[in-house]
Assembly symmetry: C2
Homo-oligomer: 464 residues x 2
């Protein structure tokens, strides 16, 4: 598949500097708008240079800029590829060069505009003053003691997880948690790791980068199909609030998963992504709560509940894993930033986290209701949503024969950003679908976004 040829790059006769600027801009826009889909391999720089009549240096410089911006990834020995959606820049300042996104339905991001910046700023100032009076040298790889204590308290309260501060290892978001878990808990010779299909590409990538033999196991209406687990699985990474489908891991499957882990001496990584935001019924029990056997490593993050920019997540690990995880963190980046850790500890301790989550649950519940209503009305027969029980996203099926890439490109031209469901799947292309998030769109813009999307689907449907 050569995505570049489909792009109709328009390069004027111009100096090489201007040429480079244009090529960079056009490729970048194509990637950000989804016209060049994640995973597409780019032509070798020499081939593209020949094709466009440019010098190879110009093409290499442009690839380099795009690599630097996270739009492309290079896999040594394989080539240059469009980065997974999760690792590409999106929204805000960095996207200004691309067509303006007026209706952002991309999944995976919370609403950052409602974060209580004033409170955070005040607490940061206080933590900084405290630190300046006594510049303690915190070098604990498992995190600032006050933050570990605050997280343990928060979890017992908000997620009914009984844990002590010593059980908590603070990480740089969930991403570092995946990296530490694979490096610390699986010996190199036994690295069969199960991820969900569809699932979160960045977790999969972290495992693969650490040399794991990653197996994608399907998800159905009850979540991960435990019956399909390979018997040699050493690590099983599961989202009980499934990403990106939004389905819930059923109680039956939870028990089966724990029994599987016990029988096969496997470790379960419970990625509680979106677990704070549940809309129908009481909060889900965590696997960690049900674990009687020191099998479950719980991964949480403040990227969803607070702000992705904080880069703070955590692992709650059984005692037998704690030392190895702490050591892996020490080797990986030693320890976290003391002042930010102290700020977050105060933020949680003073109840601001709980208050913010409570408030945002209401905000997201409204958006979800509006989105489901709009899909039922304007999307009827075009987009069939899987109503999610939790999280900030849903999956929606398109009819067979719809050209997903064309839908995404058309919607993007009208300012609506969505993602191809296929970006979250492994192996064969799944039934066509979209992943829709409501973390970054105001309720009042959702109707219009769905109308635009419906129009784009109608225009992209091949009629027999």
């Amino acid at each position: 598949m050569n995505g570049v040829l489909e792009l109709e790059l328009q390069l004027p006769a111009a100096g090489s500097r201007e040429m480079r600027r244009r090529l960079h801009e056009q490729l970048r826009q194509a990637i950000l708008a989804g016209r060049l889909a994640p995973g597409v391999q780019l032509p070798a720089s020499r081939a593209l240079a020949d094709q466009l009549g440019l010098s190879r240096n110009t093409v290499m410089a442009v690839y380099d800029m795009l690599l630097g911006e996270g739009c492309l990834v290079a896999r040594p020995g394989a080539g240059t590829f469009v980065a997974p959606a999760a690792s590409r820049p999106a929204g805000g300042e960095t996207i200004r060069a691309a067509p303006a996104v007026t209706h952002n339905l991309r999944p995976g991001r919370p609403d950052a505009t409602r974060f209580p910046f004033d409170i955070w700023g005040r607490l940061t100032g206080r933590a900084l003053r405290r630190y300046s009076r006594d510049p303690a040298v915190y070098r604990e790889p498992c995190g600032h003691p006050a933050l570990r204590e605050a997280i343990a308290g928060h979890l017992s309260f908000a997620r009914a997880i009984a844990c002590a501060p010593a059980d908590v290892v603070v990480t740089v978001g969930a991403q570092q948690a995946f990296d530490l878990v694979i490096r610390a808990l699986t010996p190199p010779e036994r690295r069969v790791v199960v991820v969900e299909n569809p699932g979160y590409p960045a977790a999969r990538a972290a495992f693969a980068a650490a040399g794991a033999d990653v197996r994608a196991v399907p998800v159905d209406a009850e979540g991960l199909v435990v019956e399909a687990l390979p018997p040699d699985a050493a690590l099983i990474c599961v989202t009980p609030s499934q990403f990106p489908t939004g389905v819930t891991l059923s109680p039956r499957r939870r028990q089966a998963l724990l029994a599987f882990a016990a029988a096969h001496d496997a470790v379960i990584v419970e990625d509680d992504y979106g677990g704070e935001f549940r809309f129908d019924g009481p909060p889900l029990d965590t696997l960690r709560m049900l674990d009687r056997d020191e099998r479950v490593v719980y991964v949480g993050t403040f990227s969803q509940s607070l702000l992705p920019a904080l880069r703070i997540g955590f692992v709650v690990a059984p005692g037998r894993f704690r030392a190895a995880l702490t050591e892996a963190r020490a080797h990986s980046d030693w320890h976290g930033p003391a002042i930010e850790h102290a700020t977050l500890a105060d933020f949680i301790g003073e109840g601001h986290l709980a208050r913010h989550v409570r408030r945002m649950r209401g905000v997201y519940a409204e958006r979800r209701a509006v989105l489901l209503r709009a899909l039922a009305r304007d999307g009827a027969g075009l987009l069939d949503p899987v109503a999610p029980a939790s999280g900030l996203h849903l999956a929606a099926r398109l009819a067979a024969g719809v050209d997903v890439a064309a839908v995404i490109a058309r919607a993007a031209r009208s300012g609506v950003a969505v993602e191809d469901f296929a970006a979250f799947t492994a192996g064969d292309a799944p039934a066509p679908g979209l992943a829709l998030g409501y973390g970054q769109i105001e309720a009042g813009r959702i109707d219009e976004a769905v109308a635009i999307l419906a129009e784009a689907i109608r225009a992209s449907t091949s009629r027999p």
Copy 2:
């Protein structure tokens, strides 16, 4: 070697909770004061429990607390060890439980009390307000664009390194730089990595944790002995301002090292630790400056020049490595904290970094002069310093027959903290010596510290 037996643990008849508290406190103090030296293996929990007449659970709980605090490290399959000095808590709040350190001569830490916290606080507030108005979603694994630009500008000015923002990958301190470099730039089947002996234990540990075959190559008065490099070295990690000896890599050796790398297709990791703080003569040329062949990856950190708590470092990499490093960062922890990156970008951009380094160079130069003078006077015949040309530390030899552990323990009882030079060496025990840092001691306390140290040495010297 059973360090615990030498400790004379004093445990009263008491409830298990109190017993646990006492055991924890005594072990912790022993580790922080250096009585239990880095690398010492602790007895198995069962053995220590039997020996002390405690339950094994009590001992395991204490080990766990010490692991959590970074005082111990567990090596799966090998046992539990006293953590390297570099990864243990030191100074400030965390050390209060141990005997008070009144004269801190530990190496490896700058003076945090002189950091301009007021300016940093103001710039943080500004970055936060800017971000709150437009919560841009920066997810560039190579760092915030403004920070990369600021670092590139700073380096050209302060270290005469010609580089563009695209050459810079921001990291979580130097530690993450080592981890990314080993993971991204050496294929698993070719991981012979050279470190210096003596050298920085945390870099060595990062390479070993990534599965490298780490070879320690000696350092002499001209720095790394290039003639002793193994021909199959894939990565050579070198500190031109050598840590912890303070010697400088000579121009002759620099050329030889670059020639070796070219001849053997090796990559040089230039860890410019302490390179900003040079006292005799002009700043050292960097290897990066001399590199004509895309062989040198330059690693820098703001932990020494500003504040370890920032957790921000960077890599300046040749174009051919950049994509792999960026991808490794994405897999490892995705990206850094946008607000802190923006704050540091402003801090550098407004000249505060350059001003702070200039000011601290004067402060450290004075301390160094006072320390060398005191060693020449009170330490004559006892402690023979290697006068360092740069950095915030020096190495000092003790006479043969001096019991280094006893010196450290005696000095600690009088409030003077120093480190065993052996903690930075690999293989056979070197000639006895101490590593002394002047980052955390005021000039006015140095004379007293050296007098205490001299007395401790006299008292610990075996007379034939």
